[in-house]
């Protein structure tokens, strides 16, 4: 385990590329927030308190649709469900002697990326490592959202139209690499998109509100897949797949390991 100073410094170092990526993605999220009626400050507060791209996107669209509060709660639960698995895995990385309040603080910052670099740390996790990463990543995410709302006002419609696919591009970058590796996931993502289109355009069922459509399809398809194709590998391994989308991932883990050897 690193000294506190080392852990914090390494965290900041590894958080910088994450912060840059966050800024760009959060910018497109800000455009969505604006379309849902959020001010720049409100949207930035949502970003600072959520740190969740898919969850926030879903949340913003529900605000736009004036959905019921319970619908919002279920939607956030479903779109952010993967963090449960990550937090479960991360709880194993804590040294038993680490004070309890660190679990409350680290829990705030469990994102795909922060989880990815934290789980890659050799040995037990010094909480100062994710704190260092969050120190730069959270401002990147929050400011990106803020400027997305503000600049969305200034930018020409053509540019806004182009930027509006940015978030979907990121979602695609997350789901495609594992789809390439696993036939099951490839089948799942394909079926999910086909059914989603069906539920969006087919008469009668197209009347289902978009929020519930996402929840319904997610729970039904994921449950069916869990029964038909239960995973065999351990959650740590499974989570590696989820973070494969970040190209710097393995490189960062290697860097962390080599630094550890020197230390």
């Amino acid at each position: 385990m690193w000294t506190n100073r080392q852990a914090f410094r390494n965290g900041i170092r590894d958080g910088i590329p994450i912060a840059l990526g966050y800024f760009a993605v959060a910018f497109t999220l800000g455009i969505v927030a604006k379309s849902a009626g959020f001010t720049a400050v409100s949207a930035a507060i949502v970003s600072a308190t959520n740190l969740a791209s898919a969850g926030q996107y879903a949340g913003f669209t529900l605000v736009r649709d004036n959905a019921a509060y319970i619908e919002m709660a279920i939607m956030i639960l479903v779109t952010n469900a993967r963090y449960m698995l990550m937090s479960s895995a991360l709880s194993q990385k804590f040294d038993p002697s680490t004070p309890f309040f660190h679990r409350l603080l680290v829990g705030y910052g469990v994102t795909d990326e922060i989880f990815g670099i934290s789980i890659g740390v050799p040995g037990k996790l010094n909480p100062l490592y994710p704190y260092g990463a969050l120190l730069v990543a959270v401002p990147g995410w929050t400011l990106g959202t803020f400027f997305g709302v503000v600049m969305g006002n200034i930018l020409p419609g053509r540019v806004v139209s182009a930027l509006s696919v940015g978030l979907y591009g990121m979602f695609i970058a997350i789901i495609i690499p594992p789809s390439r590796k696993s036939k099951v996931i490839l089948g799942l993502t394909s079926i999910s998109m086909v059914l989603s289109a069906l539920f969006t355009y087919m008469p009668l069922i197209s009347g289902i509100p978009s929020g519930f459509r996402v929840i319904l399809l997610t729970v039904a398809i994921s449950a069916a897949a869990s029964i038909l194709f239960p995973i065999k590998d351990d959650p740590y391994h499974a989570d590696d797949h989820a973070t494969d989308a970040i190209p710097d991932e393995t490189h960062q883990k290697d860097t962390i390991r080599s630094t550890d050897h020197e230390a």
């Binding site: 959020f38 479903v78 937090s87 182009a162 940015g166 695609i172 997610t218």
Partner: protein, 101 residues
């Protein structure tokens, strides 16, 4: 009835935080139930797929640009482009196509 935006914001923050902090504080042992583990493993892929398509086609000014951006993004991600690259190039694709429409 128009719902209060601040109540929405509190729900979003509270649910998201609880999802992350409860496993960290309560479940000290690894999840053993295979159905639960499988379900949590598959959820992100399914929900991101459902949210991406066909929404990406409806997000742009012209649906055709959305379709092309969708295909371009899939190809880029398939051949190893990262998060930021795919995201930016999808935007560039829409911009270029809509110049000609």
């Amino acid at each position: 009835m128009k719902h209060n935006i601040y109540v929405y914001m509190i729900i979003m923050a509270a649910v998201t935080y609880l999802i992350r902090v409860l496993p960290l504080t309560l479940i000290r042992k690894e999840i053993k139930n295979n159905f639960v583990r499988s379900f949590l493993y598959y959820v992100p892929y399914v929900t991101l797929s459902v949210m991406t398509f066909p929404a990406i086609i409806e997000a742009t000014n012209s649906p055709a640009a959305g379709v092309v951006a969708f295909i371009v993004a899939i190809l880029l991600a398939w051949f190893g482009a990262g998060l930021l690259q795919v995201s930016v190039l999808a935007c560039v694709t829409v911009y270029i196509i809509e110049l000609f429409l």
